[in-house]
Amino acid sequence: MKFAVIVFPGSNCDKDLYFAIKDGIHADVEMIDYRSKSLDAFDAVLIPGGFSYGDYLRSGAIAAHAPIIETIKRMSALGKPIMGICNGFQILTEIGLLPGALIRNRQNRFICETVDLKVKNNQTIFTNEYEFDQTLSLPVAHGEGNYYCDISTLKQINDNNQIIFRYASDINGSIDNIAGIINKAGNVLGMMPHPERALEEMLGSDDGLKLFQSILKSHMNRVNL
């Protein structure tokens, strides 16, 4: 299985994701420039955290117009797994692959800490290695991680089981403590916490590992069908 890590100007968790794939699940991975036109060689797309284009205007807003975005949308239409973490999640909402938006944390400050979240749907290609309602300990690091959507969208994503992770307690004002959601088709995940920083006990938690293992396993199952 081959992963692409998209690198925008200002991405800064790209290498962490690269190492997560290479050393964490020992799969193939390549860093892909934001100007690339093709992702045909890849089975999955990872959009890293960071401050793409300095978060100027609004986080993710300028990246949403980068050349590679159209290619990512095509990958999504083909049903390929796409995961955006932190700034990647913000970009996915900006380009409309995921509903809602990430606004300033309610406390109006950046927060960096390791928080508990619950797996609310383990029947996805991203979470099948977790137990339902399992508590994960994952780092968050964001200033604009306050997930917001309107009431009807909230009802929809609830009804469709699109809420994948919820914080165990309110950390930033996110509606219904939403930490991560999936699209309706089930192939695009956006989450604010950083699983790529939680792959080793030595760093405080290895709860992120199963997320990457889930993607790999789902792929293998598909290939072997």
């Binding site: 300095g54 950046f110 920083r197």
Partner: protein
């Protein structure tokens, strides 16, 4: 605007308002140039001969530091010091002060401090792996101080978080002397392979000088001179001297420069960041290092404002700019390389052999001065040094008054200097790069080096109360405290960078503080074999004639050979035995409890036996490397009472202790002591090694209580009570309006 002529400058003594003395102006005119300097030239001399660039007031004192050890690859004089860590790898680190800019424009002042120190690291070719900071503010009951604290912390986080370097540690202290003159010291640590080290040299006739990065504007002009002046209520125009940072631009610049050094090392002769005193300081120093001359064409310098004068272009401290010296045949490759990274790279000059600094604008020569005069012949002053009256000679110790031990204990935990700094450090991304093994809040931060067993421990320390009370011993204590932090994490201290923050050195009593404290630091550094490889001096930290406490900051790095041996301060298991290593003495002068009870610090400090402390450090490392202890915490402000409390917070484990000392001694601040916890299985082996260097004082419990018996007293505190006081003290103070 028409610029004043050379004669007018002499006549009106304009140079004085830029910080040059009459004597210095005469030296420039008579000895160096043999004529009067023009407006531009006077400006260049005034910044290059300012304290910030020339160290004219401090260099004869700085020579006291030892910058040698078997690990030192490069010491002071480069952008940053370099220390060998084995396997062809090295760490590159430096600290820098941004006190003055942060006082007037706290967010940008602090942010550009971070940006500047990061450039110092990647300009050597190193990849930054961690940031630290040391902050000193006034008391939080003052609304302006709260504003400064909030904005400064936010500026540090804003820059570091965006560029993607973890801010892993530091210190924050509070004292009214810093009210209008906060201390903002930032440190950056980078990792490099020996072969990739680049120096800032402009060498080789006809090689080209290339300007890379952000455009030049009028921001920060005379920032370096401004840093060498005092604050008063009446000077309000200084805001314009603060630069504005763009961490996104620096991220592009950093990644590009690191890639350039790694992939195209053959294209470049030298690389240097533009920091204080911008284009003049960077290019003149590059030429000076290679005894070259330079020609600069200012029309080629990318400018973001129109009608800029040579003086403004040369002195601008616009951020996120670098200078390269390249071989001419690679000019096109270089411009293409940077264009691809969305950066401007423009040839602005070339290297000559005549040793002259020649600057042209619109075909006209605007400067022609010898580089040696500008860089190397700056004056050196031995300022007058007089011992201040407050320095006590008597050996008398402050006697704390303790009616209720519980009460005093909780009060101490609530003091902002002691209380958890989580409110601030939680706004820093400390985990990015996924290498941070020990996060903020422990004795030292630890960052692992990927694909090796090694890790780097680092800390920023400097208890200015102790330095104020006794500069020499306080200076020693700053080094010892930093080393204790690293040792407690399981690291061997290997190098120091410093920020030396003091008042106006032209005042004899201030100079005495400076001189004595540097002597103390130098002496301790030498004895402990920890060289000083880089640093920064910040003088004139005064407001309305009142100086800050003498505030040297020690930024220390340590090497962990085997990451499995890294240890943290928190107790790990109920039932583990608790030991106190190092003797506790009747020492309360300069302590937290003295500050609490007198609202002042005074008295003399006791002599320190550094050799004995060195042995103790070796002992601690020995027991850590033999995996005999489960936690290790060094004692500092607030003494044993605070150290024991902090050891309980990490895993919410309590303790039951009994010490053979009076209750006051729980707050003694005798340096280089450690609290360690040991599992019963290791008790015998452990006791055999420590002998009489330590004593068993109790046991870790799971009853959510801290209980301690002293001679004639006993105190019990619920863990939840202590913890909430300690954790919330600062956020409570910050939320006042």
């Amino acid at each position: 605007m028409t610029e004043p002529t050379a004669e007018m400058i002499q006549e009106t003594k304009l140079y004085k308002s830029w910080g040059l003395s009459d004597q210095e102006f005469q030296t420039i005119s008579n000895d160096i140039l043999g004529r009067l300097p023009n407006y531009t030239e006077t400006g260049l001399f005034s910044v290059m001969w300012g304290e910030h660039c020339s160290y004219k007031n401090s260099k004869n004192v700085l020579r006291k530091f030892s910058n040698k050890s078997e690990r030192v690859l490069a010491g002071p004089g480069e952008d940053a010091g370099i220390i060998d860590i084995g396997d062809n790898q090295a760490i590159v680190f430096k600290a820098e002060s941004h006190n003055h800019p942060s006082a007037v424009e706290p967010y940008q002042g602090a942010a550009t401090g971070v940006g500047g120190i990061i450039r110092d690291i990647f300009s050597m070719g190193a990849t930054p792996i961690a940031l630290l900071n040391s902050l000193k503010f006034g008391e939080l009951d003052d609304s302006h101080t709260r504003y400064l604290a909030e904005e400064i912390v936010s500026g540090i986080g804003g820059y570091g978080n965006c560029i993607g370097i973890p801010t892993v540690g530091g210190e924050i202290a509070f004292q009214s002397r810093y009210k209008k003159n906060p201390i903002v010291n930032v440190m950056c640590v980078g990792l490099i392979d020996h072969d990739d080290v680049k120096y800032g040299k402009a060498t080789g006739k006809d090689n080209l000088i290339v300007y890379v990065g952000a455009k030049t504007g009028r921001d920060g002009i005379h920032g370096a001179t401004f840093a060498s002046d005092e604050f008063t209520d009446s000077k309000s125009t200084q805001r314009s001297a603060v630069q504005v940072g763009d961490p996104f631009m620096e991220k592009l610049l950093m990644d590009a420069c690191i890639e350039l050094v790694h992939e195209h090392s053959d294209w470049i002769m030298g690389i240097q960041d533009m920091g204080a005193a911008g284009l003049v300081s960077s290019t003149a120093e590059m030429a000076s290092k290679a005894s070259s001359g330079l020609i600069l064409e200012l029309d080629n310098v990318p400018q973001r404002e129109t009608e800029m004068t040579p003086y403004e272009i040369m002195l601008s401290e616009s951020q996120e700019r670098m200078v390269l010296c390249i071989k001419p045949e690679y000019e096109q490759n270089i411009t293409d390389f940077f264009t691809d990274k969305m950066l401007d790279a423009v040839v602005v000059g070339k290297v000559t052999t005549d040793g002259q600094y020649k600057i042209y604008q619109r075909g006209k020569m605007v400067c022609n001065i010898p580089i040696s005069g500008l860089v190397d012949e700056s004056p050196e002053y031995k300022r007058i040094s007089v011992k201040p009256d407050r320095i006590a000679d008597s050996k008398e110790q402050f006697r704390p008054e303790i009616k209720s031990l519980e009460d005093v204990w909780l009060k101490i935990l609530r003091q902002p200097t002691i209380a958890s700094k989580e409110y601030f450090y939680k706004t820093y991304d400390s985990q990015i790069k996924a290498n941070t093994v020990v996060q903020p809040g422990s004795d030292a931060a630890v960052v692992r080096i990927r694909d090796t067993k090694k890790a780097i421990a680092m800390t920023n320390d400097g208890n200015s109360r102790m330095v104020y009370v006794d500069p020499f011993i306080g200076g020693q204590m700053a080094v010892i405290e930093a080393a204790s932090n690293l040792v407690a994490a399981g690291a061997i201290p290997i190098g120091i960078t410093d920020c030396l923050n003091y008042g106006n050195p032209e005042k004899p009593e201030i100079f005495w503080e400076f001189e004595k404290s540097v002597s103390g630091m130098a002496m301790a550094g030498k004895k402990l074999n920890i060289p000083v490889v880089s640093g920064n001096v910040s003088l004139y930290n005064e407001f309305n004639e009142t100086a800050i406490y003498p505030s040297p900051m020690i930024g220390m790095t340590g090497l962990v050979e085997d990451i499995d041996n890294v240890i943290t301060q928190g107790f790990k298991n109920s039932g583990d035995l608790i030991y106190l290593i190092g003797e506790t003495r009747n020492e309360f002068n300069g302590s937290e409890i003295q500050q609490l009870q007198l609202n002042d610090v005074k008295g003399s400090l006791s002599k320190i036996n550094v050799d004995q402390i060195k042995d103790r450090f070796e002992l601690i490392l020995d027991i850590i490397n033999n995996k005999l202890i489960n936690s290790c915490h060094d004692l500092s402000e607030g003494g044993l009472a605070v150290a024991l409390s902090e050891a309980t917070f990490e895993n919410k484990l309590g303790f039951k202790c009994e010490v053979n000392m009076p209750k006051e001694y729980l707050f003694s601040e005798t340096p280089a002591r450690f609290v360690v916890s040991v599992s019963k299985d290791n008790q015998r082996k452990f006791e055999d090694i420590i002998g009489n260097n330590g004593a068993k004082i109790g046991v870790v419990t799971d009853d959510n209580r801290m209980n301690i018996k002293t001679i004639g007293a006993e105190a019990t505190i619920e863990l939840s009570v202590a913890m909430s006081i300690w954790k919330e003290a600062i956020s409570c103070l910050m939320k006042k309006n």
